[in-house]
Amino acid sequence: MTQPLLSIDDLHKSYGSEEVLEGVGLEMEQGDVTVLIGPSGSGKSTLLRCVNRLTEINSGRIALDGQDVTGTDTDVNELRKQVGMVFQDFNLFAHLTALENVTLGPKKVLGMDAADAEEAGRTHLEQVGLLEQADSYPAELSGGQKQRVGIARALAMDPELLLFDEPTSALDPELVGEVVEVMRDLAAEGITMLVVSHEMDFARSAASDIVFLDDGEIVEHGPPEQLFQNPTAERTEQFLSRLHAHEETA
């Protein structure tokens, strides 16, 4: 039996007295694209942030490639080299050009020399279709372009796992497509992705697994066809019908 790339076991997390995650378990194989869906406040983003330890857990176990993620002696910076993250608000470094955003990590964290980092950085910008904007500052880019730079920045670290925290929800509707397209390309290339998103188009076409999270626990977990067409839990069904209703009015 091969060891899963990411395994989460009985994860608990609370903020004060409010329990956000109540015993979540999840496994991902190399190349999996898992999409987390669920109502707002269900703990999706928190779960994501526990994986690269932007948030500390209360109890449970997270292992990446068999290595304990949450241990006190785990080197978080070492862990974060292997786990890239794409943010809802992009969080591009405002004082750096697109290319410098992409090369900062390789230069300062991986210790690459400037010329190599730039060459690799240009390749990553090309991968997201933004080579021509290499010298633009974030403020000069559209939302969709910013998010694509955000993806290139995460890719530049050559991570084993990419986390996407609602990557399209801060975007104008007409800009969502370009970001989804890039994500779909990455999925096709076999990059392992854990995605919090309600972008159904992406979920249907690129996801290997859909996880429905509600009230801090995983209600349903399955391949997209099954979960979308024949949800077993009533809560899933209700959530999906609300989502469809919203999609049709939008």
């Binding site: 070492e78 890239g84 943010f87 990590g105 300062k108 670290m157």
Partner: protein
Amino acid sequence: MSTAESTTSPNPGLRDRVGTVFTVRPLTVGLALFWVWVLARWTTDFVLAGVLGLDRGTPFVPAAPFLTTADTVASLAAPLGVAGAPLVWLADTLRFAADATAYLPALAHGIWTTVLLTVFSVCLGFTLALPLSVVRVYGGRWARWLALSYTELIRGTPLLAQLFVLYFATSLTQVLRGVPGVGVGFVPAQAFWVAVISFTLNSAAYQSEYLRASLESVDGGQLTAARAIGLSKLEGIRYVVVPQGLRLALPSWTNELVYLIKYSSLASFITVQELYGRTSTIANETYQYTELFVLVAILYLALVVSASALMDRVESHTATAGVGHTRQ
């Protein structure tokens, strides 16, 4: 220029050109002349006089022509009575110019000391202020408290009192006197260094406040993103937060520089012969208080305007779209 103004202007191009010709140029020319004079003065008195064995502080322009012209103008004004007032004023101005030619060499030395004092203090102050502000924003509870106490202590007491404490109440002067090289040749004597230390400690507190405010205004997501690519907290602060904070702090930092140019005059109270100190010494000997203090006001103004102009250039040079206020 506000956006509203520039959009309502019928021809912004013309407006800019007019602005360049009538407002920017005279200032630039004036400052250029001022600095040519200052540098010529320093070169002559500090370098050439030594090499060629000349007298130091010989005025570039003799006072006599101004005085003879002033006398002529005054004699023309005398028969005109009240109507001659403009001529009297002209004669007075010429006499002022004559006095100025005599005093300016000494004041140029004062400018040298003032510039050194300000540059040393503001730069050393900055090297203390940066870690201080980082501690204020990101430090642990005790470190934050310590940094805050320092800042409040310094900002809550008069600079002159701080200067006097260091100069009179500590053995700093004796210690500095013992340092080899102090007061030898071009190196100023111990009182100057006491002033530098005092101004550095003072300026660090003020600068750290400006920097703290700027660091705090950098969006929190910036550090989160830095951490997410594997930078340590300190690296994230260094490579991501501080570069943005410094750009945001530039306008208030310029303020601090301008303040310090003028506050450095307090060093005269501990015998440092900087610009104000020299002026005051000469005034006490000649009783020409009005002339000298008008003159020194003009020189301080030139220094301050130069500093603002320089910082304006730094600001536009480091301007980055989306970081701080981008000028139209």
